[in-house]
């Protein structure tokens, strides 16, 4: 069953991928059949995988049959021995179930959304493979298999963001996502090496068992002695920052909106960005032994949460608003991990997966209705025309803003309460920034709702006349996800972070004694409990004031605080900064090395120079062959003479 859950997406992806190579001979009928086959195979595969995941989940998590399923030995070299294994514990299974369910909904949705595209089999195949790599990542039982999934996810994100490769902007975004992730992956790889150095193994069980004993070890980095586990954890966290788009390595995420909308949903909800969060949670036995690393995780997470929320408030592209919202929510997850409330982080990850997928697919539905328009300034007045989508977006936004009883309420509250419950300075930092971000989250969510659905239509008449509700194949997944967005919080609360949490997680998550932020979270003052909801409602109210009742205010504010507005609009100038610091110098360096270094020095002296010298020698060598017998005889005698002389001179 477990095998089926992980490998059905691979199978479906491979079959659909090979379908895309079958020539359709230009016949519409034939092409249509191929497309349909690819859709059926991938969607069927994903749905079956989701069912298999559910069955496995029940037997492993509820039945307590944890362990690992070994497939075969992968590498056996020296003291390094590792296998392809599927780890079966609560953390893995939660992720597997969430990934397969959300991904299968996205698969089905894509059937409708991509119906006019001309390379459907390729798209469906990528989606399935993306899911497969994510499953490899979350089920791995050692760091290298995780890295395999990690890189596979990176690769598929590259392919999917650049799916419409005819567009230069899509190609640029795909490259950016890949390159920025490479920075993080470099950290991850170094972290794996350091782990192997310290533990002489990269199998999770062994590492986790030894972590306690190695807690006081130091490691030599650039000839300084550092706490080994801190170094390892920080390196691994760099990897997590890349994949999960944390402050500094977040720049690829908004650009990734160049991909088709289902891709955005997949990246933001089910795969890719959650990988970093998952990784830190998975490695909780290591992170627990490094207070420095945990502090860094908390600070980065909290800073990202507020940073992305501020930018989200001024963006006009509907998908980019949601993208920054993801970035911000990932920040929440990280600071939850940072205060050792791993289960709260994962809880928020799961609920977020549902409502973020819902929001993205809803936005996709809007874009679909508006003939591929993504700018909210050109929308408005849509709620009567696409009522189902409208309702869905409301549900998603309510969940995101954390309004009771929607999913986000429970998970965001426990995250913030855990930050408070950490009783530490960084905990406070995270808590207050989190509260501020919660206010902004609610504000930009309703800004989005109001700008998109209310007010006078700002699109031209042709577009407005075209507006239509999406087909059922797109609405159905929305409804399924909305069920998750409404009930996931209430339904899972007890297992994930409530009274049943110890039994539920078992050994999957390790929390050091004394790190009891989660326990404290249940005993915070009442005002801490209500504050997130209050600021959320305040944010909603402010959005109504700004964009519905007094639409002049935003413009007035923007012109009063011109500098701040431009700063936010330009996303804190991160792209410009990186462009100046890394991209431009890299280009200059590359150009210099190419023209000067490679062209003149290496080619000139190396290949070209040696080739010229070789040809010259070859000509001379061939010229020795005169064809005259006496030359040949002379050469022989000369040879003998030289050799004899050599021996006579050197004395034998």
């Amino acid at each position: 069953m477990y095998l089926a859950a992980v490998f059905l997406p691979l199978l479906g992806g491979l079959i659909a991928g090979s379908l895309s190579f079958i020539p359709d001979g230009g016949e519409k009928e034939r092409k249509h059949k191929l497309d349909r086959a690819a859709q059926l195979i991938t969607c069927g595969g994903m749905l079956l995988a989701a069912v298999a995941a559910l069955v496995t989940f029940i037997s492993v998590v509820l039945g307590g049959e944890t362990g690992a399923l070994e497939i075969f030995t992968w590498i056996d070299s020296g003291s390094m021995e590792l296998s392809w294994e599927l780890r079966a514990d609560t953390l893995s299974l939660v992720m597997v179930l969430m990934v397969t369910v959300v991904s299968s909904m996205i698969h089905i949705y894509s059937v409708g959304y991509m119906s006019h595209d001309h390379s459907i089999p390729r798209f469906q195949s990528y989606l399935s493979l993306f899911t497969f790599f994510m499953l490899m990542l979350v089920t791995s039982n050692n760091l290298v298999q995780m890295f395999f999934g990690w890189e596979g996810v990176g690769l598929m994100s590259y392919l999917l963001i650049g799916f419409w490769f005819e567009r230069p902007s899509a190609c640029a975004a795909a490259i950016k996502a890949f390159v920025v992730n490479r920075v993080g992956d470099f950290g991850f790889a170094l972290g794996i090496f350091a782990t192997f150095l310290m533990f002489d193994t990269i199998n999770f069980d062994v590492i986790f068992g030894l972590a306690e004993a190695q807690a006081d070890q130091t490691i030599n980095v650039f000839s300084g002695e550092f706490h080994a586990l801190t170094v390892i954890c920080l390196l691994l966290f760099v990897g997590a920052m890349g994949k999960s788009a944390q402050l500094g390595l977040h720049t690829w995420l908004p650009d990734a909106m160049e991909g088709p909308t289902p891709v955005s949903a997949l990246i933001h909800a089910a795969t890719m960005v959650t990988a970093g969060v998952f990784m830190v949670a998975r490695l909780s036995p290591l992170f627990e032994h490094s207070d420095v690393a945990l502090t860094v995780v908390t600070i980065v997470g909290a800073s990202t949460a507020i940073f992305a929320a501020t930018i989200g408030c001024v963006q006009n592209d509907i998908k980019r608003v949601i993208a920054y919202s993801t970035c911000s929510q990932l920040g929440y997850m990280f600071f939850a991990l940072g205060v050792s409330a791993y289960s709260a982080g994962i809880f928020h990850l799961v609920t977020h997966a549902f409502f973020k997928a819902l929001l993205f697919l809803g936005a996709g539905s809007v874009i679909h209705a508006m003939s591929d328009e993504q700018d909210m300034r050109k929308m408005g007045g849509l709620y009567k025309l696409i009522p189902v989508t409208y309702v869905m977006m409301w549900i998603g936004s309510l969940a995101l803003a954390g309004v009771w009883p929607f999913a986000g309420f429970f998970s965001k509250d426990i995250v913030l309460e855990a930050a408070w419950g950490a009783h530490s300075a960084v905990g406070q930092y995270a808590f207050w920034l989190g509260i501020a971000a919660a206010f902004l989250t609610a504000f930009y969510s309703w800004r989005l709702l109001i700008m998109t659905f209310h007010g006078k239509p700002r699109a031209d008449e042709v577009t407005m006349a075209h507006v239509h509700e999406s087909p059922k194949v797109m609405l159905l997944p929305l409804m399924v996800l909305s069920v998750g967005a409404i009930f996931a919080g209430l339904g899972l609360y007890n297992w994930f972070v409530g009274a049943g949490t110890v039994d539920f997680w078992g050994n999957a998550i390790f929390v050091l004694e004394g790190h009891d932020a989660l326990e404290n979270a249940h005993h915070v003052p009442l005002w801490v409990k209500y504050l997130p909801l209050v600021v959320g409602l305040a944010g909603i109210a402010m959005a109504y004031v700004f964009y519905m009742f007094a639409p002049g205010i935003p413009a007035a504010i923007a012109s009063t605080f011109k500098g701040v507005h431009r700063f936010l609009l330009n996303k804190w100038y991160f792209d410009e900064l990186y462009d100046f610091l890394f991209v431009k110098p890299a280009f200059r360096l590359g150009h210099g090395l190419w023209k000067g270094g490679d062209g003149q020095v290496i080619d000139g002296v190396g290949p070209d120079g040696i080739a010229a010298a070789t040809r010259n020698l070859a000509r001379r060598a061939a010229a020795l062959q005169s064809g005259f017998l006496y030359h040949y005889a002379f050469a022989m005698l000369l040879g003998v003479a030289i050799l004899v002389t050599w021996f006579l001179v050197t004395g034998g």
Binding site: A621, A622, A635, M636
Partner: protein
């Protein structure tokens, strides 16, 4: 009466050669050539069996002048296989050029006999006998195409220079005899313990090595090779490139290791010199060649350079294990060289348009389209000669270079690797011409059955050596043990 059993294969072959000559004279002239040709091949194959049967450990006869051991068996097997295949491959060519006479296979058999005697020689006189029998036969078949001036010129050049080299060799032998008082290898081996030898012996050794170097066409005694390879009829070139080279190297090995083993530090200097010179010249001079036979001449010069590294190791290394590694590398190299070269020349023999041989490298253009199977095997041979894994040629070079590194002959190993990089250029250029250039007119078809068989067998050896290298490796190992006890 000396014990004739160890020499039984040679005696059998000698008698068979006479009988074949008689048969050729008295049989129906219409079919004589063909029958003699096939029978010769059969006789050569039977001789392999006899060689295997009569040899049981090491045995000497004729007063110690003739020796047979596992080393001799291994090398003789290679020589006989190469000669038999050369006889088979030559028939079609000779028929088409109207020079198919029964003397040709008989001369090849006699050459093989000479080579076998060289391999079994355990005395300077026996050595010279075998060498001359071989050489005289080769002089004749080099100019077998009498009407062609090129063939006649090739034969003449080979003869004159061969005579010069024989003179050098005899002079060296007489010097050694003069300073040591013996010509027997066994006795010579006991004279120089500790590596002390009179200057006269050293000079004699240099002259002997010069004579041998001529036979293996090592630089600077190689000058005849390109001219003779180009001028001689192609099946003769195919024969020249393989069997005599193996025989001469084996003779060289037995003489140096067997008779002058204690002077290894001296003679290995000569070997190192000619080896480096051969590798470099073989790599560079081939680059500008347009004629594929000439190219193969330089290629074989280069290959002899690599093979000689093995002999240099056997002379220069300090410990016995490395020395025998060198010898084993040499023998493995020779075996692989034989298969690669036979296969390549089989392809060259198939380069015919309208019943005329073509020899230009350009004539191979686009072969992958006109005859993909042939292009594939030829490409495999070329990659193998260039020493590219996983083909057999790579392993030949690998063992040789490993032995050189073990013996700390780093200069040899490095120059060997670098020159094989240069040499890869012209081998791979042939592949490029076959696969990427616009097709020329197709070669004549159909390909005869025996040529197909030769190509399939040699191609299989080159491709599959990596899978099942054991026969060649263990054969070479056994052969080495005979020469280097302990």
């Amino acid at each position: 009466m000396p014990n004739l059993i160890p020499a039984l294969p040679e005696i059998f072959l000698a008698v068979a050669a006479m009988a074949l000559l008689m048969a050729g004279v008295f049989l129906n002239p219409q079919t004589a050539s063909r029958n003699v040709s096939y029978t010769s091949a059969g006789v050569l194959v039977v001789t392999i069996a006899i060689v295997g049967l009569v040899t049981d450990g090491t045995a000497t006869t004729f007063g110690g002048a003739f020796i047979t051991d596992t080393f001799a068996v291994f090398v003789k097997a290679l020589i006989l296989i190469a000669t038999a295949v050369a006889v088979i491959m030559s028939r079609e060519y000779l028929e088409q050029n109207g020079i198919f006479r029964f003397e040709f296979p008989v001369l090849m058999v006699l050459a093989a006999l000479g080579m076998m005697m060289m391999v079994s020689a355990n005395d300077m006189i026996a050595l010279y006998l075998g060498l001359e029998l071989q050489s005289l036969s080769l002089y004749v078949i080099a100019s077998f195409q009498r009407e062609s001036t090129r063939s006649a010129e090739a034969g003449l050049k080979y003869f004159v220079l061969g005579a010069l080299s024989s003179g050098l060799l005899l002079y060296g032998i007489s010097l050694v005899y003069g300073f040591s008082g013996t010509t027997g290898f066994d006795k010579l081996a006991g004279l120089f313990i500790g590596g002390d030898a009179p200057v006269g012996v050293i000079v004699g050794l240099v002259f002997i090595l010069a004579g041998f170097a001529f036979k293996v066409s090592a630089v600077p005694f190689h000058m005849w090779t390109p001219d003779v390879y180009e001028g001689a009829p192609t099946p003769v070139t195919a024969f020249f490139a393989v069997a005599p080279k193996i025989a001469a190297l084996a003779l060289m090995t037995r003489t140096m290791v067997g008779a002058f083993g204690d002077l290894g530090a001296e003679w290995s200097q000569v070997i190192i010199f000619v080896s480096i010179a051969s590798m470099i010249l073989g790599a560079f001079a081939a680059i500008n060649q347009k004629n594929i036979k000439r190219l193969m001449a330089y290629s074989s010069i280069g290959h002899m350079g690599y093979a000689l590294i093995g002999l240099a190791v056997a002379g220069a290394a300090d410990d016995a294990v490395t020395r025998s590694d060198g010898l084993q590398g040499l023998l493995v190299y020779l075996a692989i060289y034989m298969f690669m070269n036979i296969g390549t020349f089989a392809c060259i023999l198939l380069m015919r348009r309208n019943n005329r041989m073509v020899e230009g490298i350009d004539d191979l253009a686009g072969l992958s389209k006109t005859n993909p199977a042939m292009a594939f095997v030829l490409a495999a041979f070329m990659f193998s000669m260039a020493g590219i894994p996983p083909l057999a040629g790579f392993f030949g070079k690998l063992y040789i270079f490993l032995a050189a590194v073990e013996a700390e002959l780093f200069a040899l190993a490095i120059i060997g690797v670098l020159s094989s990089v240069v040499a890869a250029f012209y081998y791979i250029r042939i592949v490029k011409v076959m696969y990427f250039d616009d097709p020329e007119e197709a070669f004549d078809k159909p390909i005869s059955r025996e040529m197909k068989a030769v190509l399939i067998v040699t191609g299989a050896v080159v491709l599959l050596f990596i899978v099942y290298p054991l026969p060649i490796l263990s054969g070479a190992s056994l052969a080495t043990a005979a020469l280097m006890p302990g």
